[in-house]
């Protein structure tokens, strides 16, 4: 177990800068998720921590010790790759025991550890199989088993679930989380799936174009996104965002007045802003802003409506079922406490 600290990390491939000075402290035992769109540099950052990429500038410390110059093999980390990277010529047992074997541990200690990991991951019946004889989900578990037998300082995961089908992904998500609660090993987990990030993380670092946009606990990011990018990245379906202007304690937009609570009182009158409101905070009401239903998508427990206010489509999430159909008029009454305002130019939260 250990803390991890990135300070002012920069990375360039040739002349192309990819990471622009990332600083991030991960506490001992924390489950940190790096999330962001494809190509934002999450894997690169993780691979630098693993010692698989050089560090262009800045430093990385594990447990207070700078590891910039340390080989992967000396960093005492374990990594689960997206492709699993199981050794094809070794059985599940040999795959899982490989790192211990390299450390020249005693044979019965290796046996013991592998058996223990196999039990946690339900891999007992497959120990003598080769990776090619396993399903995707089983391979994924072997890859995790290979990591946990080592009892490393830090676990690294690079999109470990993206090759699984939706149902298995959800199941493995809770398995990994349960595993973390049990082992309490510091974990850095990379994903581009914000649902994975929200459900698994202690804290999330939202990355975009080589920078961290916001760092915080999942619900913090959800409730108080620091900027437009985070607002639209976190949450599914995504937040409704449209242009407006502050006028008399509300925002005029799409030909209507949208209520908002201003943290910074005054000085905003007339300013151009982006108004953001999550679909579930747009519940239909008996009066308010008029909208016309375009599409109704019942999902059982809740119903998703696509509505039009003026010419703009918005998404509305209502609890329970809706009897409304396309063409019906409804009223929206957004809760001012759940409205988000962003500066139109900088995209920063107001």
């Amino acid at each position: 177990m250990a803390s991890v600290s990135f300070s002012q990390i920069q990375k360039s491939f040739g002349k192309t800068p990819v990471l622009h000075g990332i600083s991030l402290d991960i506490a001992d035992g924390e489950f940190m998720v790096l999330v962001g769109p494809s190509g934002c540099g999450k894997s690169t950052l993780l691979r630098m921590l693993a010692g698989l990429e050089d560090i262009t500038a800045g430093s990385i410390a594990i447990d207070g010790r700078v590891v910039n110059e340390l080989d992967s093999k000396d960093r005492d980390i374990a990594m689960v790759f997206q492709s699993y990277a199981l050794y094809p010529h070794m059985t599940v047992r040999e795959n899982m025991g490989f790192s211990l074997r390299l450390r020249e541990e005693k044979r019965n200690l290796i046996e013991e550890r592998v058996a223990a990991a196999a039990k946690i991951l339900n891999l007992g019946p497959y120990l003598d199989r080769y990776p090619r004889e396993l399903s995707g989900g089983q391979r994924q578990r072997v890859a995790m088993g290979r990591a946990i037998v080592r009892d490393p300082k830090v676990f690294l995961f690079d999109e470990p679930l993206s090759n699984l089908d939706a149902k298995l992904r959800v199941a493995m998500r809770s398995e990994i989380k349960a595993l973390h609660q049990r082992l309490k090993t510091t974990t850095v987990y990379v994903t581009h799936d914000q649902v994975e990030a929200m459900t698994m993380a202690d804290r999330i670092a939202v990355m975009n174009e080589g920078r961290i946009e916001q760092l915080g606990r999942p619900l913090e990011l959800y409730d108080r996104p620091a900027n437009l990018f985070v607002a639209q990245f976190i949450g599914s379906p995504a937040m409704n965002v449209f242009d407006g202007a502050v006028k008399g304690g509300a925002v005029e937009a799409l030909g209507a007045r949208w209520p908002a609570s201003f943290s910074k009182s005054g000085g905003l009158e007339g300013q151009r802003v982006k108004y953001g409101v999550r679909p579930e905070h747009l519940e239909p009401a008996s009066s308010g802003i008029a909208a016309e239903i375009v599409v109704v998508e019942p999902m059982g427990a809740e119903t998703e409506l696509v509505v039009k206010v003026g010419d703009t489509s918005l998404i509305v999430m209502t609890r329970g079922r809706s009897t409304a159909g396309p063409g019906d008029r409804i009223f929206l009454a957004p809760d001012p406490a759940h409205a988000h305002l962003f500066d139109a130019a900088s995209g920063l939260r107001i």
């Binding site: 698989l52 093999k73 374990a78 990594m79 790759f81 492709s83 050794y87 094809p88 290979r146």
Partner: protein
């Protein structure tokens, strides 16, 4: 193997062959013809020439033959293995993604790409003890008389092996490079994270993936090297005193002596070496592959 679904044309009424089958035979005919004319006929003719038991008796009694067999075995064991160890090592170097290594690899391919006869002859001239460039330079730089490269039988054999390795190394390096490039990079990364040293990565990742290719290539190379006539004949011509022949060149010696039946007999004598290797290799290529890959 999964069955490939070929759309069956409507079956013709039962009257001899269907059009489908007729076309099959027509398309097959050229291959059968080529096989008959270029494989079956010459092989049978050769066996026919080599049918007399006396040919073998004189062959076995010829002292040159005995030396040749020893030379051949020695040549195969040393040259092929040395070549493959070098190729395995060099393939690991050339797979690095550096621009200068790319360029170097292009230069490295040249010996394989150039025609054999002029190059081996020029090596022969270079190694001439009196006026060859090698010994001239040795004398000029170190004031020593170079050895008789091609007139000392052992040294001449060693030189022939060297020429063979120099000529064939690029090809096998390329083949083994292809094998290395087929290994996913993540396996090496996983091994690094698992704590493997460079040697351990070779032992546990590279070698298990390459073993089949390596052994199969070695077998193939053994067969080809057994038939490598150029490196020996063009360099030493079997000289001095017919002491540097291998089976491939011995046939030519007999043909020159107008003993066609002996020439054929040398080839037949090589068959007990070649056929098991061909069989073993075909077996590896067809069956074993699935088990190890």
């Amino acid at each position: 193997m999964s069955a490939i679904a070929i759309p069956h044309p409507p079956l013709a009424p039962k009257r001899g062959l269907s059009t489908w089958q007729t076309w099959g035979l027509i398309l097959l005919a050229p291959y059968v013809l080529v096989f008959l004319v270029f494989v079956l006929y010459p092989v049978s003719y050769g066996l026919w020439l080599a049918r007399h038991p006396e040919s073998y008796k004189t062959l076995f009694e010829d002292p040159v033959f005995f030396t040749t067999v020893i030379n051949t075995i020695f040549f195969l064991l040393v040259a092929v293995n040395l070549k493959f160890i070098l190729a395995l090592y060099l393939s690991g170097f050339f797979v690095h993604e550096r621009r200068w290594i790319r360029w170097l690899s292009v230069i490295f391919i040249i010996p394989w790409a150039v025609p054999a006869i002029p190059t081996v002859y020029s090596i022969r001239f270079m190694l001439n003890p009196e006026w060859g460039v090698v010994n001239s330079l040795l004398f000029r730089w170190f004031q020593i008389d170079g050895p008789n490269w091609l007139t000392d039988p052992q040294l001449a054999m060693a030189m022939a092996m060297l020429v063979h390795i120099w000529k064939a190394l690029p090809f096998w390096t390329l083949i083994l490079m292809a094998g290395r490039l087929a290994i996913p990079k993540e396996l090496y990364e996983a091994a690094s994270v698992d704590g493997a040293s460079a040697w351990q990565k070779f032992k546990y990742v590279t070698w298990p993936s390459m073993r089949t290719l390596y052994v199969t290539s070695t077998l193939l190379s053994l067969i080809w090297t057994l038939g490598d006539f150029n490196s020996v004949y063009l360099l030493t011509g079997g000289q001095p005193a017919d002491k540097t022949h291998v089976l491939a060149t011995l046939g030519i010696r007999y043909i020159r002596l107008d003993q066609l039946d002996h020439a054929m007999a040398t080839i037949v004598v090589a068959l007990p070496f070649v056929l098991p290797m061909v069989y073993f290799m075909m077996k590896r290529l067809s069956g074993d592959e699935q088990k190890t890959s």
